[in-house]
């Protein structure tokens, strides 16, 4: 095996075989390099099913239409064709919001196909085991597995995705669908922390189970995400967009842009979506003060306009809100007393008034962004613990370079430990969804393998 200084790394370990891990493996294995070795490590029995795509509920549809969900950055029609070939969509049906379990199947078949293709070459190795830690060695990296063995390679890419455990400080809250989520009295009231897309998922699950009791959903602003609508994103160039300014200046520019377009009869969604190709660039050029302000004050508003849901799902949620089955509260939970169920106290954001009521369960739907230092992922925790990685300044994920290289606690850039997907949120900002992850994986593959 060649191991000269600037040689192309030919063996790569991907830690995490969920959606981002599979997408990365698919991009890497497009390389014709016969010496390439890709090891994909996943602790769950199935590959391609991360947090988002392991749901079996058919009402849990993708929040992005099929065109955005192809695994390949340079072949956006891949998933749509797959749906058509299997009769899971019709050509006149557009846009298609496929169910997430169908998407998991797509990723599984994609990986099966690659595995079959690489059988002869031996370039892909699938390992069903939990990774415990990554350690740099003289010639590369070593990934220790829970079964006591280890895997070595030239470099490792973290693709561990979203955290599986509820955030710290959520107290009695549990995740929907986890082991603690046992059967409920269908008439009882439940509390949901969060009013975003995760809350919508929880509502759909509860409906499916025949739950009829009130669902109280609390978040700081009590905002519900908007529905998608068919449209055409406006065309923008990077030369049009103010970069590197204070947040207020940018927000003023963006509001004016929406206003002008609305005057011309263009939907705000088309303006928000027109900005999407530049979102990472905008984020990366902001001073840290603007980033911090955005996360604290503007992100909630941005999210409900930017991260939307399928129109059919929105209709169901809106109907439930109207009928009083979902109650949206802008405020915060100030007290939770456990007893027979929970007695919770909520303070309204607007009136400051306190309200106490009983619930039988508390679901954590506060979303996917949280402080990385409290992660339940042992590989990430051990890297941070040994100073081989550090949280980014806003603690949204790991501190990485624009080339996905992990930055150690002393500021050293690692050439051997990299990261993709939600872990890189601090640098790439919008990197939670396939449309962005596939671009990141394509760039990384190109940089690593040419």
């Amino acid at each position: 095996m060649r191991m000269t200084g600037r040689a192309t790394p030919s063996s790569i370990i991907i830690v995490g075989g969920g959606a981002s891990g599979v997408v990365l493996a698919a991009h890497l294995l497009k390389s014709p390099n016969p010496d390439l070795r890709v090891s994909l490590i996943e602790k769950r029995p199935h590959f391609g099913q991360g947090m988002a795509y392991s749901t079996l509920l058919s009402a849990h549809v993708l929040n992005v239409s099929a065109a955005g969900m192809s695994a390949y950055a340079d072949d956006p029609g891949n998933f749509s064709r797959w749906l058509l070939e299997r009769g899971l969509a019709t050509p006149e049906q557009a846009p298609v919001y496929a169910s997430r379990s169908v998407y998991a199947r797509y990723l599984k078949e994609l990986l099966d196909e690659i595995e079959a293709r690489e059988q002869q070459t031996g370039r892909l190795r699938l390992i069903r085991e939990e990774s415990l830690s990554i350690s740099p060695t003289a010639s590369g990296v070593e990934v220790a597995l829970a079964n006591g063995t280890s895997v070595v390679a030239h470099l490792a890419v973290l693709a561990t995705g979203h955290d599986e455990e509820p955030g710290a400080g959520q107290g009695h809250a549990i995740r929907m669908g986890s082991e603690a989520d046992t059967a409920l009295d269908p008439e009882a009231r439940v509390l949901v922390l969060g009013t975003g897309l995760s809350m919508v998922d929880a509502f759909l699950s509860l409906e499916q189970r025949g739950h009829r009791g009130e669902i109280v959903a609390v978040s700081r602003r009590g905002l519900l995400p908007s529905p998608h609508r068919k449209g055409n994103p406006i065309k923008l160039d990077v030369a049009d967009i103010p970069l590197g300014t204070q947040l207020s200046y940018f927000v003023g520019w963006f509001r004016d842009l929406i206003r002008e377009n609305q005057k011309a009869g263009i939907d705000w969604r088309d303006v928000v979506d027109g900005l999407r190709p530049f979102n990472q660039k905008i984020w990366q050029n902001w001073p840290s003060s603007a980033k911090r302000r955005f996360v604290e004050h503007t992100k909630a508003w941005w999210d409900i306009h930017r991260h939307r849901m399928a129109p059919e799902v929105y209709a169901r949620v809106a109907e439930a809100v109207q009928a009083g089955r979902i109650r949206l509260v802008a405020g915060r939970v100030v007290d939770i007393a456990a007893g027979d169920g929970f007695s919770v106290q909520v303070q309204s954001r607007h009136t400051q008034q306190l309200e106490r009521f009983g619930v039988v369960r508390i679901y954590d739907c506060t979303g996917i962004a949280r402080d990385i230092s409290t992660t339940s992922n042992s590989v990430v925790r051990s890297l941070v613990g040994r100073g081989l990685a550090r949280p980014d300044p806003l603690r949204l994920g790991l501190d990485v370079t624009a080339n996905c290289e992990v930055i150690a606690s002393d500021g050293t850039v690692s050439a051997k430990i990299l990261a993709v997907g939600p872990l890189t949120r601090g640098t790439f900002f919008e990197i939670d969804a396939i449309p962005d992850i596939r671009v990141q994986c394509a760039r990384l593959s190109k940089r690593l393998l040419g």
């Binding site: 406006i234 065309k235 923008l236 160039d237 990077v238 030369a239 049009d240 967009i241 103010p242 970069l243 590197g244 300014t245 204070q246 200046y249 842009l257 002008e260 050029n285 001073p287 003060s289 603007a290």
Partner: protein, 150 residues
């Protein structure tokens, strides 16, 4: 095209980038030192402050200083704030588009090429920081800098 406003603004920022970190400069000194009409400079500095590139202090000891390190502010950031979207001609802009009276924009080859040119302008200006611009000493250094880039 870079307007006088854009040019003056960049000169003023280079002036500030030469000062020790945190030191304030009088508007008068910036104006006379760079041949900028003072009233115009006041307006320019006001816009740069709104965008978060400079900070000001009022009063007798007042003045302006950079709000951030000079290597964090890119030239392209500043030009967009002062001159609007980067564009070699007014019809080659998506947000500040101005229709030419005398041609059809859909088929105008000049516009198509100029849309490409603006990408190139953005690429150059977004790569260069105020600090780098400040450190360009003269033509000799410039050719050296260009060589490094290429």
């Amino acid at each position: 095209m870079l307007t006088k406003k854009g040019k003056y603004g960049l000169k003023a920022l280079v002036h500030l980038a030469r000062l020790p970190v945190g030191q304030l400069a009088f508007v008068n000194d910036i104006a006379t030192g760079n041949n900028i009409p003072k009233k115009f400079l006041d307006a320019i500095l006001g816009e740069l402050r709104n965008a978060g590139f400079v900070q000001s202090r009022k009063g007798k000891d007042g003045g302006y200083r950079l709000a951030r390190p000079a290597d964090e502010i890119k030239v392209g950031h500043v030009v967009r704030v002062l001159d609007g979207p980067l564009a070699p001609i007014p019809c080659a802009s998506r947000t500040q588009y101005q229709r030419c009276e005398d041609c059809n924009e859909a088929t105008c080859q000049v516009r198509h090429l100029m849309l490409e040119v603006r990408q190139a302008i953005a690429e150059v200006l977004d790569q260069r920081s105020l600090a780098e611009m400040r450190d360009i000493a003269g033509d000799a250094d410039l050719s050296a800098a260009l060589k490094i880039q290429a």
